[in-house]
Each structure stands twice: as C-alpha cells, then as structure tokens.
Symmetry: C2
C-alpha cells in the first residue's frame, strides 16, 4: 500500500486484511476449484454448487444471503444493513460462472486445481476464473469480511448480486432485475470485472464495447462426401465459408457488413489525447498477447481500435475432418462463431440483422444457413464526473503506487447497461486484472499482489463512500 | 447373374458362391468389426489385429500367407501356385485399413457393428470400410475360396497384396514393392477399390486423379485471447485464414494456385462424347450427395470436372472455440487441411510447392505457417486395349444385367501408379461400390447384391484369365 497514512477507522481494517491474506487466498482457491462453466449444459450442477458455496461463505461473514432460482443458473443476493437506514447503499456486482477451458492440453496445470506459482510479479493463482471473475469478486467480499471482523458494522449499506450466466448471455439477468428491483436499488454500484492499466497503476473504466454474437452453419450436401468422388462436382461448404467470411473485411481492415459504421461517432481530440498519455499501449498489447505485430483498421491507434472502434471477429470455425492426419472428405456443413464488438450509438440488433444479411446474401446456390443468436448488448458509457467515481479514484490512488487512470475497455459487461436502464444507477467499474491474465484462454491467472491490493482498495473505497451524501 | 450359361468349369463355382453366400457375408462382417483406422495412432493395434485376422482367413483357404512388418502398418501377402508354373500370374490388390469415423453422432449404427439393414437395392451392410475397401477385397477372396473348394486348383497363379496404409499415405508401399519385387511380379494386376456406374451396370476404371494433401496452421498470437480485450488490436488467425483461403478460387471456380492448369491437357472430343452416353451424371451426383445443385469450374460437364479437371478442396478447418455455445475468444492459430485432386500430366510436387507458396505469399505481418505434407501422387491412366481389360469386361458383362462400361474416377489409388512404375504391370480396375455408398462418410454401406455379384464376377474373370497367353 501507499505511504499515505489511513485514518483510524480504515487502518485496522487494512491491517486485518494484511494479517489474514493466506486465509483469503485459500477461500479464493476453494471457489476456483468448482468448475462453474455456464456455457456447457454438462456443468450445470457445478454452476449450482458454486452458487451455494458462495452463498455459504457470504453467510459466514454475516450477510443475509439468498440463492434465487432462475430459468438458467442461480442468482446469489446478499445484504447487510448494519450501517443503519441513513447510510448510502452500495450495490456490488460480480459473476461466479466461468468460460470453458478448451484447449485443455495447453494448460500447464489443471484449470480447476487453482495452483499457486511464481511469476514476474510474485505469486499468482492459475485457474479458469482466477481473474474473470472469481478472483475479482472476492476482493470486495474479503474487504467486507475484514471490515465486519474489525468494526462489526459496515460504513455503508451493502447489497451484493452474483450472477451465474455472465459467460453465456445473461438471459436471466434483466427479468431478475425487474422482479427484484426494490431489493436491489442503491445509490451507486461497483462492478469488479475490469482491469488495471498495469500492475502499479489502478484504473477505472468508463467505456465498454457492446457485443453481437452468432453461430452460423452453412449446409451443402446432405452428408459428408469423399473428396475424390465429389470434389469438383458439388459445393464444398468449407471452401464456400472461407470465400464468404473472407469478405468480412476490406484491405484496410474495415468491416464490410452493411451500415456497420453508420452510427459510430468520431472520437474527440480530448479523449484521444488523454489515451495517448497512458503510455506505450502497443508494447503492452504485444507483450501480453504474444503477437509480433499490432493489426486492425487503418487510421486508428491501438487504444482507439480497442476502445472506440467496432470489430468483427471469427471466434470459432470448424468444417470437415478436424482430427489427426489426412481424411479426404468434403464435409456436409461448415460452421463459424462470429462476434462484433460495438461502440456507443451502434444498435446491436441492427448490426446482428445486417451480419445475418451479409451471410444470407452470399449463400451459394443449393445451400442454406442455420443461424443462432447468442444475444446482443449495446456499448456502455458511465459518467466520469460523479462523486462515487471520484471517491473510488482517490481510494485506489491511496493504495497503489501510481494514481488511478481513466480508461476504456474492449470487452463487454452487459450488466452495466441493465443497471442503468432498470435500476437507474451508474456503475463504477473498478477491477484488478492485468492484460496478461489470459482471460478466456489457457493458463488464466490472477496476481496475488493484485488480489491483495484489490481487497485493500475496496476497504478504502468503503471508507470514502461512508461520507458521500446519497 | 445373367442368363448366359457359364461353362462347366465356371458354373459349379458360381453355384458354390450362391449356396455359401451367408457364410461369406459373416466373414465380411467379422473383418468389418475390427476398427482398423490407419490415420489415428490410437488404433495401430487394431490395424495389426486386422492384418492377422485377414491372414488367418487366407490361410484357411489354403493360400501361403505372410504378414510383413513395415515401418508403418503391416502388408499381408498371400500366394497360390496350384495352377502350375505355366499359368498366368495375377496380382490382386486391396487395403484392409479404413478411414476415421467422425462425426460419430451422424451414424445410425455403430460403425464397427457391421449391421445388415434393408435399403433400396435389398439388404446392405453398414460399416466403416464396408465399400472402402473390405467389402471389395472380399469379393475376390471369396471367389478364390469357392474356386478352390470346387476344383482344388486355381486356373491362374495368384499373389494377393493387402495394404494397411491406403487411407494414410501408403508410406511403406513403394519400399515394400521394391524389396519384394520378385515375389510380386505378375502378368496382370486386379485392383478392387473403384465403383460401378450404377447397380445394374459394372464398370472398369481407366483414369484416376492424383492427390496433393497438406495441413497448414497459421500462427498469430502466442495464446488464445479474449476477443474484447484484443479484438481490433492484433491479428485474428481465424479471420486471416478465411481471407487467404477465400482466394483459392475465382468467381468461375478456377483454382488460383500459380501454374495450376499449365500442364492440364484438353479432353478429346471422343472421350467427352463417350462419357456423355453414360446417362444423367448430374442426377446421379445430386441423388447420392444430397446436394441441391451441382457446382464447380465453369465450362465443363460434371463428369469432366470429376474425371478430367483438377480441384482444390478444404477437407478440414478449425480455429478458436468449436464447442457448444459462445466463447469470446481469438484463437492463437487457425488450421486447414487442403487437398488438390490432379489430372494427367500435372506434377504433384510442383502443385504442392505452388500451394505452399500461395499460402506463404499471403502470410499476414507477424504471423507464420506450419505446413505438413501428407504425401503426393500423380494421376493415373491405364491402357484400355489390353486383353486383360477386355476379358474382365466380358466377364463382368456375363454376370450383370448390363454390359460393362469404361469410366474415370475422381478419386486416387496411388498403388496403381506404383505398380506401373516398380512392377511394370498395368492394373485392371474393377470395383463394385455405388455412388451412394457414403465412402469416407457416416453410414458407409455396401450392397449385398453388389458383394454377391462381385464375387461371381471375380470367378468369371478367373475363368477367362486362365486362357490368356502371358
């Protein structure tokens, strides 16, 4: 933590956090060892088990906790009113579900072992969900645990909401927010699913890209064919899908879906300049991605392309024979999983419709598409002039070596938009993951120093939030 | 069989075949129940077991049989000299290995159960390898079994060669032919890995396309990335591979690999006219493929495209997340299995080199390819004026309702070229599979009527071959 001396309320909480870090790490490991993969129906029981495990832990802190059934995976809601009815109310959000682990053979350890290994920044915990999002949600859970252990009462009223469908489309979220609106209303909201600028520099995220995600299967022959007996005679869907998807971008990296950029606003010079002061973004991206060159739409910096420009990416592609060795087959189908990251003002449903049209217009004779949507959500901006954001920024600057910076994010956190729309509350996006945390990839990890400082920072945020007039 | 009366040597053999068909089918089922998938190292023991099983069966007929070890899968060689030293010597070739079975969930029965079911042409046997090639190789094995059962001595000297690597590149074949050349020399060679024109019309194949087959993996980032955190900042190999492979064909279906058509000869009007008399090839192709339209290089008929024009097909394609549901990932790599079917005069190695160059020239900045070759082989023609081909044609016409026709094949049978080159013998390509046998695909089958008539036809061929001066 920084050399600033905390006040006499906060300091014993920070000390308690420091003294009990090992136990906090063990609790995080226990949570990570539950394979709560929400996208795969085979893991539904594990997702439920994870919700119950988390709820038990929250009850052990003294929070009133309920596991709510939904049509999909459960919601966990925990409240604490020990601060009294006049205190501000803070809604915390996290998600306890995780991404699939494939390709499994690229992991150096079992993704659900939660091994602790040494890395460039000291010890780190390696597991699916370490940084996205179990390690992050435990930063505020542990801050509140320590605060209650030291002072019994919290300085603010707290309601926590933990979702189990963040990685699979959040279908139950909006119905749940509408149904439980009165229980969830709050003066501010803290979402812990974003990153730091670097290991010494905390960040608050004010822009999030939106998302459109479809799966499209091109059907040709009714069954797989021998490529000798039929090659040259009938359509090969694998050939056709590359010809079609190869047209998604022009030579300058611009997406060719109709009207794709119509509603994209130009970035202000001021915003662009602020981002330019952040440092060498290209170097960070190259180092954390292992790519040898940056790549993308011409005419924009890497941070502009990530935070202020929409994209279209193939996230999955398969056709024909994908096993070892050679098989002389023409596959009956070819499938692509395709997503678009969106920026402010783009209409997600319109983009999805135009993406579908892009594919349909290019359907080869005698073929047809089966297209499935995995949901859409718009890009999000949060106000940067609120007292909650300012207080969080001060608290972060108190704990970390460098002051907090304001950044964008290329990713999507749909719940932020839902909170704005349904609960009327803007989120403060505070998170502690690093660019090299390998989120959604093999060997996902979370630095224990980020975890430790994150817990301290949430204690400092609680301390500041107590004095904001709600 | 046809109404022609066979001579007194042949007739009792045909009768014996008819009377013992059930036992022959059971022997075929036993062979099909061994999953001899040669491309997948996990099945290596099964390939060996299949070789031993086949050898035991050949010994039970009275053939001197040896299972020869190779660097890959074994060769089975069986000989019979009961016809005496002056009789012509016939080399029979078949392969006992089979293709992989994926996608397994599209099979209506276990691919290695060898179930017998009713179909449009009566009973059929459903199994991987039913038509390619176990069902076919057993047609001449059973003919020889019955001939020996009836007459004790065969009318010709016989040497049979069974390969276990036909579906995975035949790497051991040429070294083996060179090493065992003296044991394998023959006056003619019969290869049973081709098809009929239709269920009533037997065929002899005189043209086979060649093959080039590579696997190419495009490497971008060093690991999988979150598509939010990196989409728009670095290369997505899945996007890139579609852009590259989408250029393999122009709008008229012509392959864009450099010099691809330079050595392709124009089809003679005579050949083209003969193929036009064969009937409605488009209807046959559409029915057996389940495609709704034919497709391919403009300016050529479907039979011309299949038998006399080269192609380029993606046989396998995979990148990113290929499981259920949505995963917002940018995969570190993208892989394509790509093959070219070649016609006479094309140099396979030159085509492979140019295919590799096509990919390398389009490598995006900061990326690289890993390219593996699965072997090359040239297109093949066999002389159509030999007495062996004429005798086989007469024998086929004797057994089936319609006379035999001369056709091409879109597939590749590399051994035919190796026999020409190393043993100096031209093959007679006689086979009994149908276009709808689903070779290399789920639910591969072989009609029992084709099997039965195939055994009868091989007995009739033996009868005629006895009288050809070698």
């Amino acid at each position: 933590m920084s050399e600033l001396v905390a006040n006499e309320t906060l300091q014993p909480v920070l000390d308690h956090i420091d003294q009990n870090l090992d136990a906090a790490v063990e609790r995080l490991q226990a949570l990570l060892r539950i394979p709560s993969i929400s996208t795969d129906p085979e893991f539904a029981n594990e997702v439920h088990r994870c919700a119950e495990h988390l709820a038990d832990d929250l009850r052990s802190i003294g929070l009133a906790t309920t596991v709510h059934k939904t049509k999909g995976h459960p919601m966990v809601v925990a409240t604490d009113d020990s601060a009294g009815p006049e205190a501000p109310r803070v809604l915390y959000y996290g998600h306890y579900d995780v991404q699939p682990v494939q390709p499994l053979d690229e992991w150096n350890a079992d993704p659900f072992e939660a091994a602790i290994v040494e890395g460039a920044h000291g010890k780190r915990i390696v597991a699916r969900g370490a940084a996205d999002d179990k390690g992050q949600l435990m930063t505020f859970v542990e801050a509140i645990r320590s605060w209650k252990a030291v002072h019994e009462k919290l300085p603010v009223r707290v309601v926590m909401l933990f979702e189990g469908e963040e990685e699979c489309g959040s279908e139950s979220l909006e119905p749940f927010l509408n149904e439980h609106k009165q229980d969830l209303l709050a003066d501010t909201c803290v979402v812990c699913d974003t990153g730091m600028w670097d290991v010494d520099t905390p960040a608050i995220t004010s822009r999030l890209r939106g998302l459109v995600y479809i799966e499209a299967t091109l059907h040709g022959p009714s069954h797989d064919l021998h490529s000798g007996g039929y090659g040259g005679a009938v359509i090969n869907p694998a050939n056709a899908i590359t010809e079609i998807l190869g047209q998604l971008h022009d030579k300058n990296g611009r997406v060719q879906i109709a009207h794709f950029y119509d509603d994209v606003t130009t970035l202000s010079d001021e915003q662009s300049s602020q981002w330019n002061t952040l440092g060498d973004a290209d170097a960070l991206v190259l180092e954390s991605s292992g790519a040898k060159a940056t790549f993308g739409e011409e005419g924009y910096s890497t941070l502009e392309r990530l935070w202020a420009r929409p994209t279209c990416d193939i996230n999955g592609l398969f056709a024909g024979y994908t096993g070892l060795g050679a098989k002389t087959v023409i596959g009956a189908t070819a499938t692509a999983k395709i997503s678009c990251r969106l920026v402010a003002n783009q209409n997600p449903q319109q983009i999805e419709d135009n993406l579908r049209a892009f594919l349909e217009e290019r359907t080869p004779e005698g073929c047809h598409w089966n297209i499935t949507s995995f949901g859409v959500n718009p890009a999000i901006s949060v106000p940067t002039d609120s007292p909650w954001l300012a207080a969080a920024s001060e608290a972060l600057s108190q704990i970390f070596p460098n002051p907090a910076v304001l950044i964008g994010s290329g990713g999507s956190i749909p719940v932020v938009g839902s909170f704005q729309e349904i609960l009327g509350v803007d989120a403060v996006l505070v998170g502690f993951s690093l660019d090299d945390d390998l989120i959604h990839a093999p060997n996902e990890k979370f630095e224990l120093s980020c975890f430790h400082n994150g817990v301290l920072a949430h204690a400092a945020i609680l301390d500041k939030y107590a004095f904001i007039q709600s």
